[in-house]
Symmetry: C2
Subunit: 334 residues, 2 copies
């Protein structure tokens, strides 16, 4: 699966800015791939692109309309349907990361067939992956891991890819979740793969490459999350990472969705992830910690990160406040 | 999903005894559930049951015909079809653990619909499982883990269930693979579940129970297997095991299917599994080691196990040669 670019970002009737975070992610990380945004009446989000019609988007060369908004229940709303059909008729594919599938809407399926266009439900893998073979691949790989779910692994990975490219390093972000796939146009939603093929799917999306090339692989879940650690484990093994970056959110009171489960100690978390990763790459190292300090004041955030850096002895950064250049510098020492 | 008993075991045209190992497993562990075996001309296997016709099986009360044979490629052969149809017409359901599905054969589907019977492809989960919640459940649980795949986890689990029941302990085997499901009539083929739901599926098949009740959960894969460790990790977390039993095959030269990957050291393997299991049950203990010594002479086997027992300090048994009573005794000390 590879989404065709450039994109028209569909914001629909987003209730607020947060509801359009998928569109925001695409705009932030791939502005060159966006011809504009399409908003319905009552839309309360704006990702800072030009508002354009389907006709204008088509004239500007848009190849795919991306549903960049999450509404309650992940449903594809009736009020969206006429826009999606207009886009298909204008020659665009449609891509969505929502729970409910485009391909379950007969009207859309019929329209896409008629016009020879494709519907991409990127949350659901459509191809089969092989069982992982564990054979060492050429090229280098960095994987983001986390103390918990939803602590900034995708953001950190994209920031590292950008910084590496800015510093002249040959690097590619590899998406493992639906938002990452929509941002970059490819990847696998690894938590939706059949369990036997978790590691194999990652081997497939981060294949052998030039010796100096880096894949920056988006992590999922946490080895310390009682619901999802299996996904994380397979992802670690399939990545054969040369480098890990640990992501963390310091104000979380318990593991996401699991009251009663405390977050792991940072040093223990690093050690446990390294131990798992050594199975397929004995030389793996942790090169830094990425902290999402958005819930802290600037001063508090800086003190927290200074203390952590002293304790752990690795670069500690907030990618949003400071960027990830110190982590990339550390990486170059490998 | 719950298969109806008793069973007629279909051995088909099994090339040799090994090809009928599913039928053999059912006969060994649930002889009281089998009314007989059905063999085609040229069948080279025999699980020691009476050879009976479909008509006789039906008269004896058979509710399900189990495909107890694996042929090359896991295909449901043309030559089997007339027998399966005769069984459906005689009132039986059909159950299979093969890769190719019964439900993909239009002739079988039509016949089952016409006669109100069911086709069970037990390798493929048909229900949705919830995301694991990690909440401590009442009742006790034992999980078998392994140094590698295919080292005797199912056999060991069934032997422990039987020994516990013989000793008056209230215990149930919980199947996590297709052969185990066919033997016991229920469970989940956990490596075929969508990755996000591995731990949740295990929480579902080993639900809360009486405080003194033991679930004996069949393990899958190994934390040290680069292809399948994600499945194992989720299985460990969902099981919330009070007790682990490590299974091992001492003559294996590398991890199954992975040349170049050595087997883990036994003590390291125990420690790593305990560490993973402590996330959802901090009190977990390893209570013994089950060794498949079928590739060793009696004397060699005994020496190997004696040495290992001295080194590790836990009961070491071959469940086939000696039974698992020493492991169950150790369990009672918990």
């Amino acid at each position: 699966m590879e989404l065709k670019k450039p994109y028209l970002l569909f914001l629909g009737d987003a209730a607020d800015q947060l509801a359009a975070k998928v569109a925001q992610g695409i705009k932030t990380w791939r502005p060159e791939c966006c011809v504009g945004q399409y908003r319905l009446d009552g839309c309360n989000a704006d990702v800072g692109l030009k508002d354009i019609s389907i006709e204008e988007a088509s004239a500007a060369g848009a190849k795919t309309l991306i549903i960049g908004v999450a509404n309650r229940g992940g449903v594809i709303s009736e009020t969206w349907l006429s826009v999606l059909i207009e886009a298909i008729e204008a020659g665009m594919d449609i891509a969505s990361g929502l729970h409910n599938k485009l391909t379950d809407i007969p009207e859309l399926v019929a329209c896409a067939e008629k016009h020879g266009r494709s519907l991409f439900d990127v949350r659901y893998p459509t191809q089969s992956y092989p069982v992982a073979n564990g054979v060492k691949r050429s090229g280098k790989r960095l994987l983001t891991v986390g103390t918990d779910c939803s602590v900034g692994k995708m953001y950190t990975s994209l920031a590292i890819e950008k910084e590496m490219c800015d510093q002249g390093v040959d690097a590619d972000f590899r998406a493992t979740g639906q938002t990452g796939i929509l941002i970059t146009g490819g990847g696998v939603s690894v938590d939706c793969v059949v369990a036997d093929f978790i590691a194999g799917a990652i081997e497939a999306i981060a294949p052998e490459n030039k010796a100096e090339h880096w894949d920056v692989i988006e992590g999922q879940g946490s080895l310390f999350h009682a619901s999802f650690a299996g996904v994380t484990m397979g992802l670690i093994h399939g990545s054969q990472p040369d480098a890990l970056v640990l992501c963390h959110e310091p104000t979380r009171e318990h593991m996401r969705g699991l009251p009663g489960y405390a977050l792991p100690d940072i040093q223990t978390c690093i050690e446990t992830n390294l131990q798992a990763a050594r199975l397929t790459n004995p030389d793996v190292q942790c090169v830094g910690i990425s902290v999402n300090t958005s819930a802290l004041e600037e001063q508090e955030a800086m003190s927290y990160m200074d203390l952590l850096e002293t304790e752990i002895g690795l670069p500690v950064v907030d990618p949003f406040r400071q960027g990830v250049s110190r982590i990339v510098e550390k990486l170059k020492e490998l």
